[in-house]
Symmetry: D2
């Protein structure tokens, strides 16, 4: 939780003999103490995924120095890697429409120190949530999105500009009920996180609770995933379900679903913020 | 659990004022003691669903007498109803192919007295499970099913004849890996129970664990449902899920899935055997 | 959820033949439509528990009229009963100390209309939560509680006075970290609800997460219960657990526990507010 | 699951900088490919726990050679370590009394190849389970245990002799309803696994379902743990719970509990057989 400062080294490379020895040897060579280490060898694709957390205390280098030192190792292993300092909070743009259960939960977790991130701003297509957001001391931008046509395109351009100015590490769609245009999704690959209110791939698209009600399922759920250009089809980070019964109305499903939505989004976002999620094609490796 | 003998009165009728009073008045008029009572008013369709368990002790009638006495009440309420004596075990035909986890579990539950039913026989399209079944003292019929053509049709006719001779109340597909022809499904509406090894409607059809693996879901599940003419689309009785991780191979999914499959099938079958399931269009009311 | 107005008739009486007929007959006699009905016959104690929801539309009486009409029936059945109008919100006094996860969740559920109650005021022994509470428009009273002695007694008397003035139906200890004196508990039997941060009866008393950590359990939980004079020993309304792992520190248990605490408290409180909980000695009947 | 042959190197040692580098360097030096690697640094005790699985293919050594080569590394790190070949099945003695749900499940998992172990024999204090066990081709020894006195001591000596002759790696108490004498427990530290039918530490000792029923808990569970000389107090390997309701009788708790008992025992035993469990005082590290 509240750990001393540390560096999180994550990476993906072709699998071969000796990678762990190379990485661990590099860290030991710097006098670094490994706080936690995870690795996964995917035998199907012969790829290697890893996450190392190294205590900053005792190391003679800062994050930049750590990166410089690791650079030749990464090149040697043909690794796609990154280093993040645990104390350096990610800049997060939150987006929501009218429902506030997810947004309120994330802002509360931020405020209480239970989820470490920097909420740069909230962007909404409605005014409803301004009070809540501003009480938390977070800037609120309202960009209404018309149903279609030129106005809609302009709205997304305005939204895109706001996002760009916020220089976010991560964008969270906390029940933002507009479909982002593909060009906007493409700008932030594996950096836009959405919560979908069904157990994907069941009930993708609009009104999933209505779909679930019609089909008569006995569990309903929520899915936290990265946004790609294809709707509700991106890499899944986390999912969960709740039991429902024949006497639950659609309104009851919606109400009870909020609880699982906020829980799954908070958990998935935590994994992401702690650099526990590595994307593997259309799937994710989650070192939970 | 091990209750004294009782009558289970289940029924469905158009909703109106006074149904419960009429039913409970009828039972009180016979001097009957209500062991448990469930009812559900579906406001959308304005239909009423109910299950009453009445202690047989103290009643001056047997099941047949109870039915005769209730007949005018049922007619008056335009109710589709039935009465079953709790002590009268349902005749069940079990069907399986090669995998035995569900079948072994059901036979064990039967043998230990934890699930009350009469396993009339097992029908399989393979010989693999004969030893297990015969050790339990249950007759085993093997009807191989050729891939296609006339032989396949003949095989299902032979299967149908075996089922008919067994005079089953219920047929359980405990991982029977053939698709029953529509004419056979139609003979036993709401009486054939299948276990599908995914969380429906996700991953209907063949090889659901492979589909789940490809999609990268974080939970996988099993669904117990009534068989209709449309594959994997019948009314769902029960479902459950287990958490899976990025390092679980397909083989691991299959192995871990067995546990949830047998659990969901046993639970769904119990609901059915205890007359807790009422079909409502393509959904179920389950008085669990 | 958002139902039309209705009356909730709950009651407990000695079991005998004909109770349901008598109740349902009474309701039908008023022309009342039963929205939902639950009953439970406890065979060990031979007691009968019930909850009937009757649509107010179509009835020619208001809640008071309904009570008057039911009075002779209740007397005849020797029933301990009550009638509440669904639209009449319970007056709830919330109490908390410094941690705000439960309180913030309840206030948010109130504000969004997802949990129907009237938050009369918040009483705390600290000032920390004033901003949050007042933003929600709810009066905040701070009554510091000294460690022991006369000052402590006086503090509880002041607290008791504040409670009495608030005329609450229900008092919720949403992580109020003081032990209420027995005389105060005794004033509100089955009306004070507490959330304890362990899976009772494991780890009653102080610092349950520390106790759980020391014992090395693999699940930890939370328990929502009515407060009695014996600490953490009152009737349990609801419980839930989360999985923990060897690498979870105490701080991590505390953080992850918050999620299950707020969930269990919200769920248990909802059951209570909807008159779904009937106390049966030191246990509860919950018509969920 | 069905993996190619591999070596599992597990160990515990004082934490210091460079352990992972030393281990991984050793494996790379042998040309070994790491199939999976887990490590855990306990900051409180400053101890290091690890499990490495190394593919045997490509290594020029067998298990004995691997041990010899690792010996100086282990000494250097002051490590308590062991190496097991994945293909070498553990010899397991199963013990049970009259209830067969756990035993039948384990024998079925063995028979279907879903749990890899060598069931050397079953020891029971009753004759009831002989048929089941012998059908599985496993030797059955019945050693009745008189209530107390000399006969009881003699019975445990006979039991101990049978165990010793079986040369087990692991002993599983699959609902064996006798308390083993301390001297027998002490002979097999961290090698006797018990399933207790409650969520420990709640309801240790006799008749846990009765205790749970009296307390009115809303969840009940099962605990798989190593047996120590203190009853139901050994290191916990795994736990799980199921939801129960006010109308569940004790018999119903017992019946539903069987399902969670067999599930938790099978899972805990699997972790143990796959060398995923390292004992840490009275707790366990489980690399699941």
């Amino acid at each position: 939780m509240t750990q001393a400062n540390s560096f999180r080294l994550t990476g993906t490379c072709p699998d071969r003999v000796g990678i762990v020895a190379r990485i661990a040897g590099f860290i030991a060579g710097l006098g670094g103490s490994i706080v936690s280490a995870n690795q996964y060898e995917d035998t199907e694709t012969e790829m290697f995924y890893m996450r190392y957390v190294v205590s900053a205390a005792g190391l003679g280098v800062d994050a930049e120095g750590f990166r410089e030192a690791f650079e030749p190792v990464g090149r040697e292993l043909e690794m796609d890697w990154s280093v993040r300092e645990s104390g350096q909070l990610q800049r997060v743009v939150l987006m929501a429409s009218r429902q506030d259960h997810c947004l309120a939960d994330l802002l509360h977790l931020h405020r209480s120190g239970d989820l470490a991130f920097d909420p740069v701003c909230v962007i909404s297509n409605h005014e409803d949530l301004r009070d809540l957001v501003e009480w938390h001391g977070v800037p609120y931008h309202c960009v209404p999105v018309p149903p279609a046509g030129e106005g809609k395109q302009a709205a997304f351009e305005a939204t895109s500009t706001l996002i760009r100015e916020a220089r976010p590490d991560t964008i969270v769609l906390a029940r933002y009920m507009q479909i982002l245009p593909p060009w906007l999704c493409a700008e932030y690959p594996n950096r836009i996180i959405n919560i979908h209110h069904s157990f994907l791939p069941s009930f993708a698209g609009a009104r999933p609770y209505h779909q679930a009600f019609r089909r008569g399922v006995k569990l309903t759920g929520a899915t936290c995933h990265y946004v790609t250009e294809e709707l509700d089809a991106g890499p899944i980070i986390d999912q969960d379900v709740i039991r429902i019964r024949h006497h639950d109305s659609i309104e009851e499903l919606v109400r009870r679903g909020k609880d699982v939505e906020k829980r799954v989004l908070a958990r998935g976002l935590r994994y992401h913020l702690e650099d526990r999620v590595l994307v593997q094609g259309n799937k994710t490796v989650v070192f939970s």
